[in-house]
């Protein structure tokens, strides 16, 4: 194998890796956009300011999916989550749960008081 063909192989490999990374990034963006609908109540990236409603950041994916299934089926008592859970498809819930499972837990910053 000549130096030139090694270079070409590397370029091809790098390009393939780059494409895979970009596709992964776009999938991550789709998950982030869906999860962002939950941030409003549960905090940015699922880090709740005071833990009420509960933080979702860093929860296991299986646990989150199980809870959403139970909300949807009316098995877990809820004030509002049984109504929200019915708004998402199984595929969407899978992306959302995966997103929050991948976030490092911790509280969100509270909005600062006026000066």
């Amino acid at each position: 194998m000549t130096a030139i063909s090694i270079g070409a192989c590397c370029a091809a490999a790098l390009l393939a890796a780059g494409v895979a990374t970009q596709a992964g990034a776009q999938d991550a963006n789709a998950a982030r956009s869906l999860a962002a609908t939950c941030f409003t109540c549960h905090g940015s990236d699922g880090r709740s300011v005071d833990g009420v409603p509960p933080s979702l950041a860093g929860q296991s994916k299986d646990y989150l999916l199980q809870q959403m299934r139970e909300f949807r089926a009316g098995k877990r008592p809820a004030t509002i989550m049984h109504q929200h859970a019915k708004g998402y498809t199984d595929e969407q819930l899978d992306l959302i749960a995966g997103y929050f499972a991948g976030v490092k837990p911790g509280p969100a910053a509270a909005a600062p008081a006026a000066r």
């Binding site: 939950c38 009420v52 004030t79 509002i80 708004g87 969100a108 910053a109 008081a113």
Partner: protein, 424 residues
């Protein structure tokens, strides 16, 4: 309703891959990838600014806001009820600045979409690649002759933008004699915060019940019936506030006699000790001067996948100023959700990446019937490519079974988290 099928989704992903790779090379110089200017630092604008910066740190983000502090409209009815202080709802822009967003205090007066400049009242200009306009609402006074001047508007308040008007209306209620009559007029929907008027009635009733038990509330609603959470509000009005509230639907406003403290309807006149008239709204002034208003001379039509104006390219619109999609309320939650869809789309457009073709938005609105007990209305909305609008997901959403203290704790949690997203 039409969702993307698997093949279309894969196509979107593949398209995004190639475009992103090219844009990635172009953006490697270390300089700014683009400039985003946000007009208005409320629930829509501040949240959009935060997420453009957070999700694309290489984009310069500037917010133009006329006020030094943010005052939350949600929960401000509790100030009227004496159940919280306005200071608890007032926050600064320091958190947004700490995230690397430039916050300019000023008044945006015009947007020149051809030269991509926002002009401020002080004569300065800001250049943009994409501008996000989140102006909230302004009131339509020209159909109410008696209120169409500043002096009258200082006496008969709307208190429908939280701030000095909220405090002034609270003072009027405090100064009212026991046995007095509070007359409250509600405009025809759509208006900001569908359950807000009925929550206000509860809050004023809560205050009267405690401090001025002989007093009465007359509700003059332009609408044919309660617009939101009807059963839950009526349960409070016919229960804990029984005999205090006189609700009169189809009460279309003709004029206000400020000197005579009288609300004039088409066929009736109603005198009160304190009048509170919420005029009809339209998108804020900057939307009008920029030519963004496309519906009924009031609201801004959007492409919901990007929140880009259908009238002016490169200009995105958020929040209460938008022509709401079917069943979509004008609420803080909704503005917050518009902001995140818009932020992601603006980043994609600046970087030459494909836009998410299937946005989802969630709405949660809490209402306080007294100082502690709360009920919600919720919905989930998804983009329908065939109808080219957001539609409510069937079978999802709904309202509380009854107001509860538990939902009171969730309502304050919602507030802390939505404030944190915008300003924390």
């Amino acid at each position: 309703m039409r969702l993307l099928n698997r093949r279309e989704f894969v196509k979107w992903m593949a398209a995004s891959t190639g475009a992103a790779a090219v844009a990635g090379c172009a953006g490697m110089g270390g300089s700014s990838a683009g400039r985003v200017v946000v007009v208005g630092g409320g629930y829509g604008g501040a949240t959009a600014a935060r997420y453009v910066k957070q999700w694309a740190p290489d984009i310069d983000v500037t917010v133009i806001e006329r006020n030094d502090t943010f005052v939350s409209c949600p929960i401000s009815n509790l100030v009227l009820g004496g159940n919280t202080q306005l200071s608890n709802l007032t926050m600064g822009y320091g958190g947004l600045r700490a995230r690397g967003v430039r916050v300019v205090r000023g008044e945006a007066v015009a947007i020149d979409a051809s030269s991509k400049q926002v002009r401020l009242a002080d004569g300065s200009s800001l250049a943009y690649d994409r501008v996000i306009v989140s102006p909230g609402v302004d009131f339509i006074y020209d159909q109410i002759p008696g209120l169409n001047n500043a002096e009258a508007q200082n006496r008969v308040l709307h208190a429908w933008k939280a701030g000095p008007q909220t405090l002034a209306l609270r003072k009027q209620l405090e100064a009212m004699r026991d046995g007095g009559v509070f007359v409250f007029h509600i405009p025809m929907a759509p208006y900001r915060c569908p359950p807000g008027p009925y929550e206000r009635v509860c809050q004023v009733a809560d205050y009267f019940k405690r401090d001025k038990p002989k007093s009465k509330i007359i509700v003059l609603d332009s609408n044919p019936d309660l617009v939101s959470k009807k059963g839950l509000f009526l349960a409070a009005w016919n229960g804990m506030y029984k005999g205090m509230i006189d609700y009169r639907p189809n009460s279309e406003l003709a004029d206000v006699d400020v000197k005579g403290m009288t609300v004039k309807l088409t066929f009736d006149s109603v005198k009160g000790d304190v009048l509170n008239v919420v005029p009809p709204h339209r998108a804020g002034d900057i939307a009008r001067t920029t030519g963004l208003i496309t519906a009924n001379q009031r609201w801004c039509g959007l492409d919901w996948t990007t929140c880009e104006s259908v009238a002016v390219k490169g200009v995105h619109v958020l929040g209460d100023a938008t022509l709401s999609a079917p069943a979509m309320p004008k609420s803080a939650s909704m503005a917050n959700q518009h902001a995140k869809v818009c932020a992601a789309a603006v980043i994609a457009l600046i970087k030459g990446q494909p836009v998410n073709p299937q946005p989802v938005m969630m709405n949660t609105c809490y209402s306080f019937v007294d100082g502690k007990n709360v009920m919600h209305v919720a919905s989930v909305h998804t983009y329908d490519a065939a109808q080219k609008t957001m539609v409510a997901v069937k079978g999802a959403g709904g309202v509380s079974t009854a107001a509860s203290e538990l939902e009171g704790t969730y309502a304050w949690g919602w507030a802390r988290n939505i404030w944190s997203e915008a300003l924390g």
